[in-house]
Subunit: 361 residues, 2 copies
């Protein structure tokens, strides 16, 4: 096999009969080069198919970046715990390369804590921020502060409408609602009635939940306009919502239930406790309670948001952008993964492989 030798700056310099300093100036358009030389160097670079060695470049640049990772406190919240499982190695990998990733937590129940953590981040003067904001208004305000200071922001998990961050990384909520509606339609009779349930939150602050509902309904409107369905917002307190569900099931003869969040286990548990089989239940996220109920047959489908991969992808994307100048997509939408009792294992064991599209280069 003919091994083509890699071409280096030195080769260009030799062929163009100039010094490597000159070549460098041309390649980086730093000026102070005569047009004639510039032309010649460029030609030769193309001719010998010069590609810079990113390792050498990264080595010599040796720049340090401070990244603020702005996220809900994972303790006690399984979804966010999953998000950071195993990401220590990713973080320390990038640390080696000069990315200092600092974590800033806020409480998912406390807007104040979000604002406070946000102030800390701003004060730390980061080179970039990765954030997942559960609060619409506060998230927007923080984003604007970053913009004012020219700090690039990657938003993941939860969209904030109308913003144009460096990149949004997550899943398409609207589309995921459509998928849920499709699965319900496939698993039911034409005359069955559906329910869409939200658990009490300030819906204004939960654009995701509304988008999921919108998607769900858009599918029904489009594919089976005769379908009957109801929409309910349930109180989050067990005592209340259990009564509400009971009443609903008695009155409405629901065949299938779509819950707009990971709280779908509250429905599954109710059905399990009261031994009500035969209802198709769909919700979000592979939390342990949800998976248990999936296994027990009281939830049929879960839509996986793959929080761990979202974080991984966010860090990777930002790292490659800062360190290697890789272009960045303004939107990275994850596949909408349908999880069932039978395939969830394959998703858990290797969410990284599927999505680990992680390439180390």
């Amino acid at each position: 096999m003919v091994t083509i030798k890699k071409s280096r700056i030195k080769d260009i310099a030799r062929l163009a009969k100039v010094s490597i300093g000159t070549v460098d100036r041309v390649l980086h358009s730093r000026g102070r080069v005569s047009p004639h030389t510039e032309q010649k160097v460029k030609e030769i670079a193309i001719k010998i198919n010069y590609k810079p060695n990113i390792l050498a470049r990264a080595l010599v640049i040796n720049k340090k970046y401070n990244i603020g990772l702005f996220i809900p406190q994972p303790n006690g919240n399984e979804y966010w715990e999953q998000a950071f499982e195993n990401n220590h190695k990713l973080i320390s990998k990038f640390e080696q390369l000069g990315l200092n990733i600092e974590l800033y937590y806020y409480s998912a129940e406390n807007k104040k804590s979000f604002e406070e953590a946000g102030q800390k981040i701003i004060k730390s003067q980061p080179n970039a921020v990765i954030m997942a904001s559960l609060f619409l208004h506060e998230g927007l305000s923080f984003y604007n502060q970053c913009c004012d200071r020219s700090i690039p922001v990657i938003i993941f998990d939860t969209t904030i409408p109308y913003l144009e961050p460096l990149s949004f990384i997550g899943i398409d909520s609207f589309q995921s609602g459509r998928v849920a509606a499709e699965l319900m339609t496939l698993t039911s009779h034409k005359k069955d009635k559906f329910a869409i349930l939200h658990f009490d939150q300030e819906l204004v602050d939960a654009p995701q939940m509304l988008e999921r509902e919108r998607g769900f309904i858009s599918y029904l409107d489009e594919k089976c306009p005769d379908r009957k369905y109801i929409v309910r917002v349930l109180n989050n307190k067990q005592h209340y919502y259990q009564n509400e569900i009971k009443e609903m099931l008695e009155k409405d003869k629901i065949s299938s239930i779509f819950v707009s969040t990971a709280k779908v286990y509250q429905i599954g548990s109710y059905l399990q406790q009261n031994k009500i089989p035969g209802i198709i239940v769909i919700g979000y996220d592979l939390t342990s309670k949800n998976i248990q109920l999936l296994n027990d047959g009281y939830i049929q489908f879960l839509i996986n948001e793959n929080p761990r991969l979202q974080v991984e992808q966010s860090i990777n994307t930002l790292g490659n952008y800062l360190l290697y100048g890789e272009p960045i997509n303004s939107k990275i939408l994850f596949p909408i993964e349908i999880i069932t009792r039978t395939n969830f294992n394959s998703h858990i064991s290797n969410s990284s492989a599927s999505h680990q599209f992680a390439e180390k280069v």
Copy 2:
């Protein structure tokens, strides 16, 4: 923020009052170091939390590897075309880093061509091989030749039983069959009858197809032992199989059909042409014909093997192993992805994000 300075070999040397050469010898266990010095250096390395700079290491190692990528000729085979879509950039990325990836094609219909290409690879004396063998016996023989020459092999897409390659990368066929059975069960009545169809191939040579069938049946046996089903091997010629299907549908009142390969479109097309709605059809792979029928409602579910990601992951895994000495999993099983009319778009646009577990570091 306190920026902790990265520790380098030089720092260890200074603190241990030895030269960097000695430190290097300790860190790489190259011997020729007194026990006392060794002990001291190790202690200090741990104390200052030394992590080698992989960039500098990769730069100086600067070794060239020849990799043989041994795969079916993609031209005219959409699955394999997908597998190599966009992988040029990955390949050229690694080329920069010293991985020379040479492609060797064989014809999926011609065992002889497999053997010939195999000989070529052996002759080229590669440092490692990545292969997808559609032929059981020939694949085994080639694998053994590599072993004899201590050439590590990564096998992807199609397993060869009983081998222990450096890594197997692909999906669990058995489990995917179970998923198909589950989906059918969820979308049908208890008394409906299922069909499992194989399209004519030498089944001996297709362990995947048999594994998928085995998985399918194992699920039924386990979860609904009363379920009626039939298994058929159909002739691949349109004229023949159309008659066979017709007969089958007339005689057996099938509600749902599971096809063990990407040829599921042959069933979908038949149903479409003959305007037979209401049958649940499940098969494999996101080829254009399959997707068209998914869209038209004559296929309900496809299981995605994500060929592109498999290739990406194979190259990444091998590259990181060779270049950075990363540990390697003997098995990397992908998530079993359920594709429907509504979510296929999200899978096509970004199969890389989900699985792009590719991290560049």
